[in-house]
């Protein structure tokens, strides 16, 4: 009985570690431009891309795009991947903007706008609410 419980826990853990977060309206999936030849991306790299500390992925200059805050997936992404609270993220970008170090990635008003942006830029990186058809953008696994 105990072994079956352990097995079930392992299965659930494995399901949660895929390309998208399982369950809930706030789950998200990562997409990239098809020119980016990666099938998975680790959380720290993705975080650094969105904070604009890293500007290359697979030899392509990165162009990240977020989702507007009205999407629950946006808040979940900020918490899980950027590992910041909304107020910390706002403070971080205010510091970057007013010291001249850079501006935040744009936020898309809709998942389709995020897909268009990713397809328009060779190093395009974005995320979508889980289950959204990615069109010609490529889904990648989040490590």
């Amino acid at each position: 009985m105990m072994r079956r419980g352990l097995l079930l826990a392992l299965v659930l853990l494995a399901a949660g570690g895929g390309s998208s977060r399982a369950g809930g309206d706030d789950a998200y999936e990562i997409i990239v431009n098809p020119a980016v030849d990666v099938s998975e991306i680790d959380r720290d790299t993705l975080r650094d891309i969105y904070l604009k500390k890293v500007n290359e992925l697979d030899g392509h200059d990165t162009h990240p795009i977020g989702l507007a805050s009205k999407f629950p997936a946006a808040e979940r992404f900020i918490h899980d991947v950027l590992r910041k609270t909304p107020s910390q993220l706002k403070s971080y970008w205010n510091q970057q903007i007013f010291s001249g170090k850079g501006v935040p990635p744009p936020d898309a008003d809709s998942p389709s706008a995020a897909i268009d942006y990713v397809l328009d830029h060779e190093g395009g990186v974005g995320y979508l609410p889980a289950g959204t058809p990615p069109g010609k953008a490529k889904l990648v696994r989040l490590r």
Binding site: D48, K53, V54, N55, E56, D61, R83, K84, T85, P86, S87, Q88, K90, S91, Y92, N94, Q95, I97, F98, S99, G100, K101, G102, V103, G123
Partner: protein
């Protein structure tokens, strides 16, 4: 330094022209941001920011900046800044920062132009009210009175972030150039007047370790600078020095005060976890000053400065912070026993306990209220005779950011 403005606009114009010839007029995607901040302050007894003991609404700051990516790795931007804060009443907009930034890769980038000086956790962000809870950052380490001196330098800065596998990463900045210090306008002709500042050099660096603990960073910064200040002494003071035989009868009152070197270092730690922020810094500021002609003997000073700060975001609208900030003018005489240097013992220190409440009305508009209770007069003893030992300071401020 208007040439920086001109050079930047020429650069943009050239790029716009190049694109215009190919595909019509296509300016780069320029992002414009700014803030306007106004407030008031009142201090009991001592004057800290201008004539604060009378209460004043001279607490205005505004900035507007424009930034664009000229290519995937080349970024350019500039910011104009205006300020009317007590004695710093320069409301004429001036270039605050403006530079080209080539971010080659994660490990290496370079900025050229007028860039913010990285010193401690917050010196680069000293006037960004919306990025913090307190109105005034701890004044021992980030004194408002030194903002124009330590804000930016004109020269070069290299920066990068070095991954350390399982041990986090190292973030570095190193720079060199000249200080860009504007003169305070509107000085009284009957008082001693600073009429020119000649920066000789500034260089320094900063290193932060980001361990594999979210929200934690520890590190240090160091800078070394040299500058000459050209001062025209008040007529009464000039006559006094002549009568005492310190200077010849032909002395015209012009003195050069040289600070060489100014040698500052600071150790810093910050931890942000959930809705909490904790920060602590310890700093030493060493300066050697001499005068030509020798109206005063050469002198050295070794300040000790430190603080601890905690801030908490109660919800999306409300946040509160508190800090305790300490300045000792002479690290070797914290109790002020040297009567020559400290006419009152408490001139040797300032111990400042401050509390702030911040209210974000929406994403662009905020209000803050802050109270300080201060023991000691080191903040004000250089500019004010016979300061009081115990005093308070109260501030309110509203800021709109876009």
């Amino acid at each position: 330094m208007k040439w920086w403005l001109i050079a930047t606009w020429i650069g943009w114009s050239a790029i716009a022209h190049a694109q215009a010839s190919d595909e019509g007029l296509a300016l780069p995607d320029v992002r414009v941001h700014g803030f306007v901040s106004e407030g008031g302050f009142l201090s009991t007894d001592n004057d800290y920011i201008g004539k604060s003991s009378r209460g004043t609404l001279e607490f205005f700051e505004a900035a507007i900046n424009a930034q664009t990516d000229l290519s995937d790795k080349l970024h350019v931007g500039l910011q104009l800044f205006s300020q009317d804060e007590g004695a710093q009443n320069d409301s004429t907009p001036r270039l605050d920062w403006g530079f080209l930034d080539y971010h080659w890769r994660r490990e290496l980038g370079i900025r050229a132009g007028r860039v913010r000086i990285p010193f401690g956790l917050y010196n680069e962000y000293i006037d960004i009210d919306s990025s913090r809870v307190p109105i005034l950052l701890p004044q021992s380490v980030y004194p408002l009175t030194e903002r124009t001196v330590l804000n930016s330098q004109t020269g070069f800065l290299v920066y990068g972030d070095l991954p350390l596998c399982h041990f986090g990463s190292l973030e570095y900045q190193a720079y060199g150039g000249e200080l860009s210090t504007p003169l305070a306008p509107g000085q009284d002709a009957n008082s001693s007047r600073l009429y020119q500042i000649d920066s000789k050099y500034i260089y320094g660096g900063q290193l932060f370790w980001h361990p594999p603990v979210d929200g934690l960073r520890v590190g240090g910064s160091w800078l070394r600078a040299g500058l000459d200040e050209y001062i025209n002494l008040a007529p009464a003071l000039t006559q006094l020095f002549i009568m005492e035989g310190v200077v010849p009868p032909t002395f015209d009152g012009n003195v050069i005060g040289s600070i060489r070197p100014a040698n500052f270092w600071i150790a810093s730690a910050e931890y942000m976890v959930d809705d909490w922020q904790f920060a602590a810094e310890y700093s030493r500021w060493f300066e050697r000053a001499r005068f030509d002609p020798v109206v005063l003997p050469a002198a050295t000073s070794d300040n000790e400065r430190f603080y601890g700060l905690a801030a908490y975001h109660i919800n999306d609208e409300l946040a509160a912070s508190a800090y305790y900030s300490v300045l000792y003018t002479d690290v070797n005489d914290r109790s002020g026993s040297n009567k020559m240097a400290f006419p009152s013992k408490y001139d040797a220190w300032s111990r400042d306990a401050a509390a702030t409440l911040r209210w974000d009305v929406n994403d662009h508009w905020l209000w803050k209220a802050e109270a300080h209770f201060i023991d000691g007069a080191a903040y004000v003893s250089a500019t004010q005779p016979m300061p009081a030992r115990y005093w308070g300071m109260f501030l309110v401020r509203t800021t709109v950011t876009f």
